[in-house]
């Protein structure tokens, strides 16, 4: 990735791209978590309890990824 520290404008544009990339990642995570929640509800209504902890684990992993993406926004 090319990163040239010249004008403030170019740096600002780079930051916007970074935040938009973070947004895209977290939106993807949230959509996946929503899907996991619907699968968990389906399992509850079907009376199956065996596989639900996998769904919880993946949803928790998704939240951790969202947290990491959020934490990565700070400039070095």
């Amino acid at each position: 990735m090319r990163f040239v520290r010249r004008g403030g404008e170019e740096r600002a544009a780079g930051r916007v791209a970074l935040v938009e990339a973070q947004l895209l990642l977290v939106i993807t995570v949230v959509v996946l978590q929503l899907w996991l929640l619907t699968v968990a509800l389906e399992e509850l209504l079907a009376g199956h309890a065996e596989g639900v902890w996998w769904l919880v684990a993946f949803s928790g992993l998704g939240f951790l990824v969202a947290l990491l993406v959020l934490a990565a926004r700070r400039e070095r």
Binding site: Q33, L44, L45, G47, A49, L55, S59, A66, L67, V69
Partner: protein, 166 residues
């Protein structure tokens, strides 16, 4: 930025004036925070659903006499109501001597299931749903979940319904 006077506004904006200067802009970073909170909410929601699924859905009701053992011949069924008079249920005397009982409402659209002795299944005539008579699990058709199982207790010659599972 100042808003245009009312007279200079387009006709549709006069009917529904929208004060843009009062609008609170949400930045991308604020939206990122909001989405992360949403992610936490979805995770906690999944945990709640999982706990509910693991807790089981056993409900105790007062014991109610259903029938005497000799009243239901082996391989036949008897309809009764449990846990209330508005809840149809079915008791099946399985070949081999074991008794099982289930709520009679199909979990698809609440048609009454019946005992099909030749195929040894509980069948729903409305949309051809079939349930395993041993477990109440769905074998075929559109029902989304098993039949609620009624727990039975045998005291001497009498069978009592004592609870509902599922």
């Amino acid at each position: 930025m100042a808003e245009a006077p009312l007279g200079e506004m387009p006709y549709h904006e006069q009917d529904f004036p929208y004060q843009r200067t009062l609008d609170k802009l949400v930045t991308r970073r604020e939206y990122l925070h909001l989405l992360t909170l949403t992610s936490l909410g979805l995770f906690l929601g999944t945990v709640g659903v999982a706990l509910e699924a693991l807790r089981g859905r056993r409900r105790d009701f007062p014991a109610q006499p259903v029938a005497s053992v000799g009243e239901v011949a082996e391989g036949t069924a008897l309809n009764f109501n449990y846990p209330t008079a508005d809840d149809p249920a079915i008791l099946v005397h399985l070949p081999g001597g074991r008794f099982v009982a289930y709520g009679q409402r199909c979990t698809h659209l609440a048609c009454a299931v019946f005992w099909e002795p030749r195929a040894r299944v509980l069948a729903c005539p409305c949309h051809e749903g079939f349930f395993d008579v041993q477990t109440g699990l769905v074998i075929a058709g559109p029902p989304p979940r098993p039949l609620p199982r009624i727990e039975l207790r045998r005291e001497g010659d009498m069978l009592f319904a004592v609870g509902v599972q599922g």
